[in-house]
Protein backbone atom coordinates (compact mmCIF):
# COMPACT_ATOMS: atom_id res chain seq x y z
CA UNK A 1 0.00 0.00 0.00
CA UNK A 2 1.43 3.37 -0.96
CA UNK A 3 2.18 6.02 1.64
CA UNK A 4 -0.62 8.22 0.32
CA UNK A 5 -3.20 5.43 0.49
CA UNK A 6 -2.06 4.51 3.99
CA UNK A 7 -2.44 8.12 5.10
CA UNK A 8 -5.91 8.25 3.56
CA UNK A 9 -6.91 5.05 5.41
CA UNK A 10 -5.59 6.48 8.68
CA UNK A 11 -7.57 9.67 8.23
CA UNK A 12 -10.75 7.81 7.29
CA UNK A 13 -10.39 5.63 10.36
CA UNK A 14 -9.92 8.71 12.51
CA UNK A 15 -13.07 10.20 11.06
CA UNK A 16 -15.10 7.03 11.42
CA UNK A 17 -18.59 7.27 12.85
CA UNK A 18 -19.78 10.71 13.70
CA UNK A 19 -16.34 12.14 14.36
CA UNK A 20 -15.62 15.67 13.18
CA UNK A 21 -12.18 17.27 13.31
CA UNK A 22 -10.06 20.06 11.95
CA UNK A 23 -6.69 19.20 10.45
CA UNK A 24 -4.86 20.05 13.65
CA UNK A 25 -7.29 18.02 15.78
CA UNK A 26 -6.78 15.07 13.44
CA UNK A 27 -3.05 15.21 14.11
CA UNK A 28 -3.71 15.19 17.82
CA UNK A 29 -6.13 12.30 17.42
CA UNK A 30 -3.61 10.28 15.40
CA UNK A 31 -1.03 10.50 18.13
CA UNK A 32 2.36 9.45 16.86
CA UNK A 33 1.83 10.40 13.24
CA UNK A 34 5.08 10.50 11.32
CA UNK A 35 6.54 13.79 9.98
CA UNK A 36 5.69 12.52 6.51
CA UNK A 37 2.08 12.09 7.59
CA UNK A 38 1.91 15.67 8.87
CA UNK A 39 3.50 17.01 5.69
CA UNK A 40 1.00 15.14 3.57
CA UNK A 41 -2.01 15.76 5.84
CA UNK A 42 -3.64 18.63 3.96
CA UNK A 43 -3.01 17.33 0.43
CA UNK A 44 -4.55 14.00 1.52
CA UNK A 45 -7.54 15.72 3.14
CA UNK A 46 -8.15 17.75 0.00
CA UNK A 47 -7.83 14.66 -2.18
CA UNK A 48 -10.34 12.76 -0.04
CA UNK A 49 -12.66 15.75 -0.25
CA UNK A 50 -12.26 15.94 -4.03
CA UNK A 51 -13.06 12.22 -4.26
CA UNK A 52 -16.22 12.72 -2.21
CA UNK A 53 -15.05 10.51 0.65
CA UNK A 54 -14.82 13.32 3.17
CA UNK A 55 -17.09 16.33 3.61
CA UNK A 56 -16.06 19.68 5.03
CA UNK A 57 -17.59 22.79 6.45
CA UNK A 58 -16.35 26.05 7.90
CA UNK A 59 -16.96 27.12 11.46
CA UNK A 60 -16.07 30.40 13.06
CA UNK A 61 -14.28 30.38 16.40
CA UNK A 62 -15.12 32.90 19.12
CA UNK A 63 -11.75 34.53 18.39
CA UNK A 64 -12.95 35.31 14.86
CA UNK A 65 -10.82 32.69 13.15
CA UNK A 66 -12.35 30.25 10.67
CA UNK A 67 -11.65 26.53 10.96
CA UNK A 68 -12.43 23.85 8.45
CA UNK A 69 -13.93 20.72 9.97
CA UNK A 70 -14.14 17.41 8.20
CA UNK A 71 -16.05 14.23 8.70
CA UNK A 72 -16.72 11.05 6.82
CA UNK A 73 -19.02 11.71 3.88
CA UNK A 74 -21.47 8.98 4.87
CA UNK A 75 -21.66 10.19 8.49
CA UNK A 76 -22.23 13.69 7.18
CA UNK A 77 -25.19 12.55 5.10
CA UNK A 78 -26.83 10.47 7.83
CA UNK A 79 -26.19 12.83 10.70
CA UNK A 80 -29.08 14.95 11.96
CA UNK A 81 -26.76 17.52 13.49
CA UNK A 82 -25.66 19.86 10.73
Amino acid sequence: MSETKAAARTIERALAGDATASGFELLRRIDGGTPEFERGLYPTLHRLEADGRVAARWEATPAGMRRRYRRSQWAWLTSTRH
Binding site: P35, E38, R39, Y42, P43, T44, H46, M65, R68
Partner: protein, 449 residues
Protein backbone atom coordinates in the same frame (compact mmCIF):
# COMPACT_ATOMS: atom_id res chain seq x y z
CA UNK B 1 -2.09 44.09 -56.40
CA UNK B 2 -3.48 40.63 -57.17
CA UNK B 3 -6.23 39.57 -54.83
CA UNK B 4 -4.35 36.49 -53.67
CA UNK B 5 -1.29 38.55 -52.64
CA UNK B 6 -3.54 41.02 -50.86
CA UNK B 7 -5.36 38.22 -49.08
CA UNK B 8 -2.12 36.50 -48.02
CA UNK B 9 -0.60 39.76 -46.78
CA UNK B 10 -3.80 40.57 -44.91
CA UNK B 11 -3.88 37.17 -43.23
CA UNK B 12 -0.20 37.35 -42.28
CA UNK B 13 -0.77 40.86 -40.99
CA UNK B 14 -3.72 39.80 -38.87
CA UNK B 15 -1.81 36.85 -37.43
CA UNK B 16 1.29 38.92 -36.62
CA UNK B 17 -0.83 41.63 -35.02
CA UNK B 18 -2.70 38.97 -33.09
CA UNK B 19 0.55 37.43 -31.83
CA UNK B 20 1.82 40.81 -30.66
CA UNK B 21 -1.43 41.76 -28.96
CA UNK B 22 -1.89 38.38 -27.28
CA UNK B 23 1.73 38.31 -26.13
CA UNK B 24 1.44 41.79 -24.67
CA UNK B 25 -1.88 41.01 -22.98
CA UNK B 26 -0.51 37.78 -21.56
CA UNK B 27 2.53 39.50 -20.06
CA UNK B 28 0.36 42.29 -18.70
CA UNK B 29 -2.11 39.85 -17.14
CA UNK B 30 0.72 37.89 -15.53
CA UNK B 31 2.23 41.10 -14.12
CA UNK B 32 -1.12 42.22 -12.68
CA UNK B 33 -1.60 38.78 -11.13
CA UNK B 34 1.85 38.92 -9.51
CA UNK B 35 1.13 42.40 -8.15
CA UNK B 36 -2.18 41.24 -6.74
CA UNK B 37 -0.60 38.23 -5.06
CA UNK B 38 2.16 40.40 -3.58
CA UNK B 39 -0.47 42.79 -2.27
CA UNK B 40 -2.42 39.93 -0.74
CA UNK B 41 0.76 38.64 0.90
CA UNK B 42 1.38 42.06 2.39
CA UNK B 43 -2.18 42.18 3.66
CA UNK B 44 -1.80 38.76 5.30
CA UNK B 45 -3.19 38.49 8.83
CA UNK B 46 -0.62 39.80 11.22
CA UNK B 47 -1.66 37.69 14.19
CA UNK B 48 0.93 35.09 13.17
CA UNK B 49 4.67 35.46 13.66
CA UNK B 50 6.45 36.80 10.54
CA UNK B 51 7.89 33.41 9.60
CA UNK B 52 4.41 31.86 9.39
CA UNK B 53 3.10 34.77 7.31
CA UNK B 54 5.97 34.35 4.86
CA UNK B 55 5.24 30.62 4.71
CA UNK B 56 1.58 31.27 3.83
CA UNK B 57 2.57 33.86 1.22
CA UNK B 58 4.98 31.41 -0.44
CA UNK B 59 2.25 28.77 -0.63
CA UNK B 60 -0.22 31.26 -2.06
CA UNK B 61 2.16 32.27 -4.82
CA UNK B 62 2.82 28.66 -5.82
CA UNK B 63 -0.74 27.34 -5.66
CA UNK B 64 -2.03 28.30 -9.14
CA UNK B 65 -5.60 27.58 -8.15
CA UNK B 66 -8.71 29.76 -8.49
CA UNK B 67 -8.68 32.73 -6.13
CA UNK B 68 -11.56 31.53 -3.93
CA UNK B 69 -9.92 28.13 -3.44
CA UNK B 70 -6.58 29.75 -2.64
CA UNK B 71 -8.28 31.90 -0.04
CA UNK B 72 -9.85 28.80 1.55
CA UNK B 73 -6.53 26.94 1.67
CA UNK B 74 -4.85 29.97 3.12
CA UNK B 75 -7.50 30.31 5.83
CA UNK B 76 -7.27 26.62 6.67
CA UNK B 77 -3.48 26.63 6.94
CA UNK B 78 -3.63 29.88 8.89
CA UNK B 79 -5.87 28.20 11.47
CA UNK B 80 -3.60 25.16 11.54
CA UNK B 81 -0.43 27.21 12.08
CA UNK B 82 -2.16 29.27 14.74
CA UNK B 83 -3.18 26.13 16.65
CA UNK B 84 0.20 24.50 16.13
CA UNK B 85 2.15 27.54 17.31
CA UNK B 86 -0.07 27.87 20.36
CA UNK B 87 0.54 24.21 21.23
CA UNK B 88 4.31 24.54 20.77
CA UNK B 89 4.40 27.68 22.87
CA UNK B 90 2.58 25.76 25.57
CA UNK B 91 5.42 23.23 25.40
CA UNK B 92 7.89 26.03 26.17
CA UNK B 93 9.09 27.32 22.82
CA UNK B 94 9.19 31.05 22.19
CA UNK B 95 7.04 32.58 19.45
CA UNK B 96 9.61 32.62 16.66
CA UNK B 97 10.91 29.14 17.39
CA UNK B 98 7.35 27.83 17.58
CA UNK B 99 6.55 29.39 14.19
CA UNK B 100 9.69 27.90 12.70
CA UNK B 101 8.87 24.46 14.04
CA UNK B 102 5.18 24.65 13.00
CA UNK B 103 6.00 25.62 9.43
CA UNK B 104 8.86 23.09 9.22
CA UNK B 105 6.43 20.31 10.15
CA UNK B 106 4.31 21.15 7.10
CA UNK B 107 7.35 20.83 4.84
CA UNK B 108 8.59 23.13 2.10
CA UNK B 109 5.85 25.58 1.06
CA UNK B 110 6.45 24.98 -2.67
CA UNK B 111 6.13 21.22 -2.21
CA UNK B 112 3.00 21.57 -0.08
CA UNK B 113 1.49 23.88 -2.70
CA UNK B 114 2.35 21.38 -5.43
CA UNK B 115 0.65 18.54 -3.57
CA UNK B 116 -2.43 20.64 -2.81
CA UNK B 117 -2.62 21.67 -6.44
CA UNK B 118 -2.39 18.05 -7.55
CA UNK B 119 -5.17 17.09 -5.11
CA UNK B 120 -7.55 19.53 -6.79
CA UNK B 121 -6.43 19.52 -10.40
CA UNK B 122 -7.35 15.97 -11.27
CA UNK B 123 -7.75 14.61 -14.78
CA UNK B 124 -11.40 13.85 -14.06
CA UNK B 125 -12.03 17.49 -13.22
CA UNK B 126 -10.21 18.57 -16.37
CA UNK B 127 -12.42 16.36 -18.53
CA UNK B 128 -15.53 17.60 -16.74
CA UNK B 129 -14.25 21.14 -17.22
CA UNK B 130 -13.78 20.60 -20.95
CA UNK B 131 -17.34 19.30 -21.29
CA UNK B 132 -18.67 22.18 -19.22
CA UNK B 133 -16.62 24.58 -21.29
CA UNK B 134 -18.18 23.35 -24.51
CA UNK B 135 -21.66 23.72 -23.03
CA UNK B 136 -21.01 27.22 -21.72
CA UNK B 137 -19.38 28.23 -24.98
CA UNK B 138 -22.71 27.32 -26.61
CA UNK B 139 -24.54 29.46 -24.08
CA UNK B 140 -22.00 32.22 -24.72
CA UNK B 141 -22.66 32.01 -28.46
CA UNK B 142 -26.31 32.81 -27.91
CA UNK B 143 -25.53 35.51 -25.38
CA UNK B 144 -22.81 36.99 -27.59
CA UNK B 145 -25.05 37.07 -30.65
CA UNK B 146 -27.71 39.02 -28.74
CA UNK B 147 -25.11 41.51 -27.51
CA UNK B 148 -23.59 41.81 -30.99
CA UNK B 149 -26.98 42.57 -32.53
CA UNK B 150 -27.60 45.18 -29.83
CA UNK B 151 -24.24 46.80 -30.58
CA UNK B 152 -25.02 46.69 -34.30
CA UNK B 153 -28.34 48.47 -33.80
CA UNK B 154 -26.55 51.04 -31.70
CA UNK B 155 -23.83 51.50 -34.29
CA UNK B 156 -26.05 51.30 -37.38
CA UNK B 157 -26.04 55.06 -38.05
CA UNK B 158 -22.24 55.06 -37.83
CA UNK B 159 -22.02 52.19 -40.32
CA UNK B 160 -24.44 53.91 -42.69
CA UNK B 161 -22.47 57.13 -42.39
CA UNK B 162 -19.25 55.27 -43.16
CA UNK B 163 -20.88 53.59 -46.16
CA UNK B 164 -22.08 56.97 -47.37
CA UNK B 165 -18.58 58.44 -47.08
CA UNK B 166 -17.07 55.45 -48.91
CA UNK B 167 -19.60 55.77 -51.71
CA UNK B 168 -19.30 59.55 -51.93
CA UNK B 169 -15.52 59.48 -52.12
CA UNK B 170 -15.46 56.58 -54.62
CA UNK B 171 -13.00 54.79 -52.37
CA UNK B 172 -14.36 51.51 -53.64
CA UNK B 173 -16.14 51.64 -56.99
CA UNK B 174 -17.22 48.02 -56.54
CA UNK B 175 -18.81 48.72 -53.19
CA UNK B 176 -21.91 46.59 -52.90
CA UNK B 177 -24.36 45.38 -50.35
CA UNK B 178 -23.34 41.72 -50.52
CA UNK B 179 -19.69 42.37 -49.58
CA UNK B 180 -20.76 44.77 -46.86
CA UNK B 181 -23.16 42.19 -45.48
CA UNK B 182 -20.38 39.61 -45.25
CA UNK B 183 -18.13 42.04 -43.42
CA UNK B 184 -20.90 42.99 -40.99
CA UNK B 185 -21.58 39.31 -40.34
CA UNK B 186 -17.88 38.74 -39.66
CA UNK B 187 -17.93 41.64 -37.20
CA UNK B 188 -21.00 40.26 -35.43
CA UNK B 189 -19.46 36.81 -35.26
CA UNK B 190 -16.19 38.24 -33.92
CA UNK B 191 -18.08 39.85 -31.01
CA UNK B 192 -20.00 36.60 -30.49
CA UNK B 193 -16.80 34.51 -30.53
CA UNK B 194 -15.15 36.86 -28.04
CA UNK B 195 -17.98 36.53 -25.53
CA UNK B 196 -18.41 32.77 -26.09
CA UNK B 197 -14.70 32.18 -25.50
CA UNK B 198 -14.84 34.08 -22.21
CA UNK B 199 -17.83 32.05 -21.07
CA UNK B 200 -16.26 28.74 -22.02
CA UNK B 201 -12.89 29.59 -20.53
CA UNK B 202 -14.40 30.70 -17.23
CA UNK B 203 -16.41 27.46 -17.05
CA UNK B 204 -13.38 25.24 -17.74
CA UNK B 205 -11.29 27.10 -15.16
CA UNK B 206 -13.98 26.92 -12.48
CA UNK B 207 -14.85 23.26 -12.98
CA UNK B 208 -11.28 22.01 -13.46
CA UNK B 209 -9.96 24.17 -10.58
CA UNK B 210 -7.23 25.55 -12.75
CA UNK B 211 -6.22 29.20 -13.14
CA UNK B 212 -8.24 30.92 -15.86
CA UNK B 213 -5.05 32.41 -17.31
CA UNK B 214 -3.46 28.98 -17.84
CA UNK B 215 -6.68 27.46 -19.17
CA UNK B 216 -7.13 30.51 -21.38
CA UNK B 217 -3.94 29.75 -23.29
CA UNK B 218 -5.12 26.26 -24.26
CA UNK B 219 -8.77 27.23 -24.67
CA UNK B 220 -7.93 30.33 -26.71
CA UNK B 221 -5.37 28.70 -28.99
CA UNK B 222 -7.40 25.48 -29.44
CA UNK B 223 -10.67 27.33 -30.02
CA UNK B 224 -9.08 29.84 -32.37
CA UNK B 225 -7.48 27.02 -34.37
CA UNK B 226 -10.85 25.23 -34.62
CA UNK B 227 -12.62 28.42 -35.73
CA UNK B 228 -9.84 29.22 -38.20
CA UNK B 229 -10.02 25.74 -39.73
CA UNK B 230 -13.80 26.09 -39.94
CA UNK B 231 -13.71 29.37 -41.84
CA UNK B 232 -10.68 28.38 -43.90
CA UNK B 233 -11.86 25.02 -45.14
CA UNK B 234 -15.50 24.37 -44.28
CA UNK B 235 -17.89 27.31 -44.27
CA UNK B 236 -18.55 28.79 -47.74
CA UNK B 237 -18.96 32.55 -47.60
CA UNK B 238 -19.30 35.23 -50.22
CA UNK B 239 -15.64 36.11 -50.64
CA UNK B 240 -13.92 39.28 -51.69
CA UNK B 241 -10.35 40.35 -51.03
CA UNK B 242 -11.47 41.94 -47.74
CA UNK B 243 -13.31 38.94 -46.39
CA UNK B 244 -10.44 36.47 -45.55
CA UNK B 245 -8.84 38.76 -42.95
CA UNK B 246 -12.30 39.60 -41.59
CA UNK B 247 -13.13 35.90 -41.26
CA UNK B 248 -9.81 35.14 -39.57
CA UNK B 249 -10.54 38.01 -37.19
CA UNK B 250 -13.34 35.80 -35.81
CA UNK B 251 -10.72 33.24 -34.78
CA UNK B 252 -8.51 35.98 -33.36
CA UNK B 253 -11.50 37.34 -31.41
CA UNK B 254 -12.09 33.90 -29.90
CA UNK B 255 -8.46 33.71 -28.76
CA UNK B 256 -8.60 37.25 -27.39
CA UNK B 257 -11.78 36.41 -25.47
CA UNK B 258 -9.99 33.56 -23.71
CA UNK B 259 -6.80 35.51 -23.04
CA UNK B 260 -7.86 39.05 -22.12
CA UNK B 261 -8.23 39.30 -18.35
CA UNK B 262 -9.50 35.72 -18.11
CA UNK B 263 -11.83 34.93 -15.24
CA UNK B 264 -12.34 38.56 -14.36
CA UNK B 265 -14.62 41.36 -15.47
CA UNK B 266 -13.33 42.98 -18.63
CA UNK B 267 -14.27 46.46 -17.55
CA UNK B 268 -15.56 47.88 -14.34
CA UNK B 269 -19.23 48.72 -14.23
CA UNK B 270 -19.49 52.18 -15.83
CA UNK B 271 -21.93 54.78 -14.51
CA UNK B 272 -25.40 54.41 -16.03
CA UNK B 273 -25.51 58.04 -17.07
CA UNK B 274 -22.20 57.66 -18.94
CA UNK B 275 -23.57 54.63 -20.81
CA UNK B 276 -26.73 56.51 -21.81
CA UNK B 277 -24.72 59.55 -22.91
CA UNK B 278 -22.25 57.46 -24.93
CA UNK B 279 -25.09 55.54 -26.59
CA UNK B 280 -26.88 58.76 -27.53
CA UNK B 281 -23.70 60.26 -28.96
CA UNK B 282 -22.90 57.07 -30.89
CA UNK B 283 -26.42 57.03 -32.29
CA UNK B 284 -27.10 60.73 -32.80
CA UNK B 285 -23.87 62.04 -34.30
CA UNK B 286 -23.79 59.69 -37.32
CA UNK B 287 -27.55 60.19 -37.72
CA UNK B 288 -27.01 63.96 -37.88
CA UNK B 289 -24.23 63.41 -40.45
CA UNK B 290 -26.63 61.39 -42.57
CA UNK B 291 -29.38 63.98 -42.22
CA UNK B 292 -26.92 66.73 -43.15
CA UNK B 293 -25.89 64.69 -46.17
CA UNK B 294 -29.55 64.76 -47.18
CA UNK B 295 -30.41 63.28 -50.53
CA UNK B 296 -27.23 64.33 -52.29
CA UNK B 297 -26.64 60.82 -53.50
CA UNK B 298 -23.70 60.85 -55.83
CA UNK B 299 -24.85 60.70 -59.41
CA UNK B 300 -22.41 59.01 -61.68
CA UNK B 301 -21.74 60.95 -64.83
CA UNK B 302 -21.84 57.79 -66.88
CA UNK B 303 -25.56 57.60 -66.31
CA UNK B 304 -27.62 59.86 -68.50
CA UNK B 305 -26.40 60.12 -72.04
CA UNK B 306 -23.04 58.37 -71.95
CA UNK B 307 -24.06 54.75 -72.02
CA UNK B 308 -22.74 54.15 -75.52
CA UNK B 309 -21.12 50.79 -76.35
CA UNK B 310 -17.77 52.57 -76.45
CA UNK B 311 -18.31 54.14 -73.02
CA UNK B 312 -19.38 50.83 -71.60
CA UNK B 313 -16.44 48.99 -73.13
CA UNK B 314 -18.51 46.72 -75.32
CA UNK B 315 -16.52 47.69 -78.39
CA UNK B 316 -13.54 46.00 -76.81
CA UNK B 317 -15.42 42.71 -77.01
CA UNK B 318 -15.90 43.06 -80.76
CA UNK B 319 -17.39 45.45 -83.29
CA UNK B 320 -21.15 45.26 -83.60
CA UNK B 321 -22.22 43.54 -86.82
CA UNK B 322 -24.29 45.96 -88.93
CA UNK B 323 -27.95 45.35 -88.52
CA UNK B 324 -27.74 43.03 -85.52
CA UNK B 325 -29.37 45.42 -83.11
CA UNK B 326 -31.51 43.20 -80.91
CA UNK B 327 -30.46 40.00 -82.68
CA UNK B 328 -29.88 38.17 -79.44
CA UNK B 329 -33.05 37.70 -77.42
CA UNK B 330 -32.61 36.53 -73.90
CA UNK B 331 -35.17 33.94 -73.00
CA UNK B 332 -33.85 33.40 -69.57
CA UNK B 333 -30.76 33.91 -67.50
CA UNK B 334 -30.47 32.12 -64.25
CA UNK B 335 -27.73 32.86 -61.82
CA UNK B 336 -27.20 30.20 -59.21
CA UNK B 337 -24.02 30.70 -57.25
CA UNK B 338 -21.61 29.75 -58.65
CA UNK B 339 -23.19 28.89 -62.02
CA UNK B 340 -24.67 31.01 -64.79
CA UNK B 341 -27.21 29.30 -67.02
CA UNK B 342 -28.22 31.33 -70.02
CA UNK B 343 -30.93 30.65 -72.63
CA UNK B 344 -31.23 32.75 -75.78
CA UNK B 345 -32.59 32.89 -79.30
CA UNK B 346 -31.43 34.94 -82.28
CA UNK B 347 -33.99 37.07 -84.12
CA UNK B 348 -33.81 38.35 -87.71
CA UNK B 349 -30.30 37.18 -88.48
CA UNK B 350 -29.26 34.02 -90.21
CA UNK B 351 -25.99 32.64 -88.95
CA UNK B 352 -25.47 30.70 -92.17
CA UNK B 353 -21.95 31.47 -93.35
CA UNK B 354 -20.82 32.42 -89.84
CA UNK B 355 -18.25 30.37 -88.01
CA UNK B 356 -16.83 30.09 -84.50
CA UNK B 357 -20.01 31.51 -82.99
CA UNK B 358 -19.56 31.54 -79.25
CA UNK B 359 -20.75 33.00 -76.00
CA UNK B 360 -18.18 35.04 -74.14
CA UNK B 361 -18.42 35.80 -70.43
CA UNK B 362 -16.71 39.10 -69.60
CA UNK B 363 -15.97 40.52 -66.20
CA UNK B 364 -17.90 43.71 -65.68
CA UNK B 365 -18.25 46.33 -63.03
CA UNK B 366 -21.29 48.07 -61.79
CA UNK B 367 -21.27 51.79 -62.59
CA UNK B 368 -24.55 52.77 -61.07
CA UNK B 369 -26.82 51.91 -58.24
CA UNK B 370 -29.11 49.63 -60.26
CA UNK B 371 -28.34 47.43 -63.25
CA UNK B 372 -25.79 49.63 -64.97
CA UNK B 373 -22.69 47.71 -65.95
CA UNK B 374 -19.55 48.33 -68.00
CA UNK B 375 -16.75 46.02 -69.07
CA UNK B 376 -14.06 45.84 -66.41
CA UNK B 377 -11.14 47.58 -68.09
CA UNK B 378 -8.59 45.61 -66.09
CA UNK B 379 -9.26 42.53 -68.21
CA UNK B 380 -8.62 42.25 -71.94
CA UNK B 381 -10.18 38.83 -72.51
CA UNK B 382 -13.31 37.01 -71.42
CA UNK B 383 -12.95 34.78 -68.39
CA UNK B 384 -14.83 31.98 -70.13
CA UNK B 385 -16.15 31.08 -73.56
CA UNK B 386 -18.60 28.43 -74.69
CA UNK B 387 -19.44 27.45 -78.29
CA UNK B 388 -22.94 28.48 -79.33
CA UNK B 389 -24.79 25.51 -80.71
CA UNK B 390 -28.50 25.79 -81.44
CA UNK B 391 -30.84 22.98 -80.50
CA UNK B 392 -33.61 21.72 -82.79
CA UNK B 393 -35.89 24.58 -81.73
CA UNK B 394 -33.22 27.15 -82.57
CA UNK B 395 -32.50 27.99 -78.95
CA UNK B 396 -29.06 28.39 -77.48
CA UNK B 397 -28.15 27.22 -74.02
CA UNK B 398 -24.95 28.05 -72.25
CA UNK B 399 -23.63 27.33 -68.80
CA UNK B 400 -20.65 28.94 -67.10
CA UNK B 401 -19.07 27.60 -63.93
CA UNK B 402 -17.78 30.36 -61.67
CA UNK B 403 -16.95 28.28 -58.59
CA UNK B 404 -13.23 28.74 -58.79
CA UNK B 405 -12.88 32.05 -60.59
CA UNK B 406 -12.21 35.26 -58.70
CA UNK B 407 -13.27 38.73 -59.80
CA UNK B 408 -16.52 37.53 -61.34
CA UNK B 409 -18.81 39.43 -59.03
CA UNK B 410 -20.32 41.15 -62.09
CA UNK B 411 -20.40 39.74 -65.56
CA UNK B 412 -21.90 40.25 -68.99
CA UNK B 413 -22.39 37.58 -71.61
CA UNK B 414 -21.93 38.39 -75.29
CA UNK B 415 -22.55 36.36 -78.42
CA UNK B 416 -19.79 36.82 -80.98
CA UNK B 417 -18.89 35.13 -84.21
CA UNK B 418 -16.66 35.38 -87.23
CA UNK B 419 -18.79 36.90 -89.97
CA UNK B 420 -18.80 36.38 -93.75
CA UNK B 421 -16.05 38.97 -94.17
CA UNK B 422 -13.70 37.15 -91.80
CA UNK B 423 -13.93 39.65 -88.92
CA UNK B 424 -15.28 38.90 -85.46
CA UNK B 425 -18.46 40.71 -84.62
CA UNK B 426 -20.59 41.21 -81.59
CA UNK B 427 -23.98 39.77 -82.41
CA UNK B 428 -25.65 40.75 -79.19
CA UNK B 429 -25.42 40.64 -75.47
CA UNK B 430 -27.32 39.06 -72.66
CA UNK B 431 -28.60 40.73 -69.58
CA UNK B 432 -25.69 41.76 -67.33
CA UNK B 433 -25.93 40.53 -63.81
CA UNK B 434 -23.92 39.73 -60.73
CA UNK B 435 -22.85 36.71 -58.81
CA UNK B 436 -20.56 36.33 -55.85
CA UNK B 437 -17.60 34.10 -55.22
CA UNK B 438 -19.17 31.70 -52.80
CA UNK B 439 -16.58 29.49 -51.16
CA UNK B 440 -14.15 29.12 -48.31
CA UNK B 441 -11.05 31.22 -47.82
CA UNK B 442 -9.06 28.29 -49.15
CA UNK B 443 -11.18 28.26 -52.32
CA UNK B 444 -10.55 31.98 -52.67
CA UNK B 445 -6.80 31.60 -52.21
CA UNK B 446 -6.53 28.80 -54.73
CA UNK B 447 -8.98 30.17 -57.30
CA UNK B 448 -8.00 31.37 -60.75
CA UNK B 449 -7.92 35.13 -61.30
Amino acid sequence: MPASVFAILSIVGVLVAYAFVVGWLDRRTARLERERLDLESKLAPDDLPPGAGTFLGAIDRSLELPADLRAEIRAELHAHLSDSIEALEAEGLDGEAAAREATARLGRPEELARQLRAAHQTTRRLLAGAAGGVFWTGVGLFEGWVIAIFLLVLGLPAILAAAWVVTALHISPDWDAAGANTLVYCLLLAVTAFIAARRGNAAVATISRRPARRIGRCWGVGGAAAVALLVLFVVPVEQTAFVPPAELAIAAAFAAGALVRPGRALVGRPPVRAVIAASLIAFLVPTLVLVAAGTSQTELTAIGGELSPAALGWDRVAREYPGTEGALRTDGAEMRQPVIEFNATIDGLSLAGWRDVRFEAWRSRRIGPINHYAIDARFATPFATEPAVADSAGAYRVRFELGHVRSTDYWTIFLTGVGPDGGRYRIGMGRPAESRFNGTIWDWMTAAE
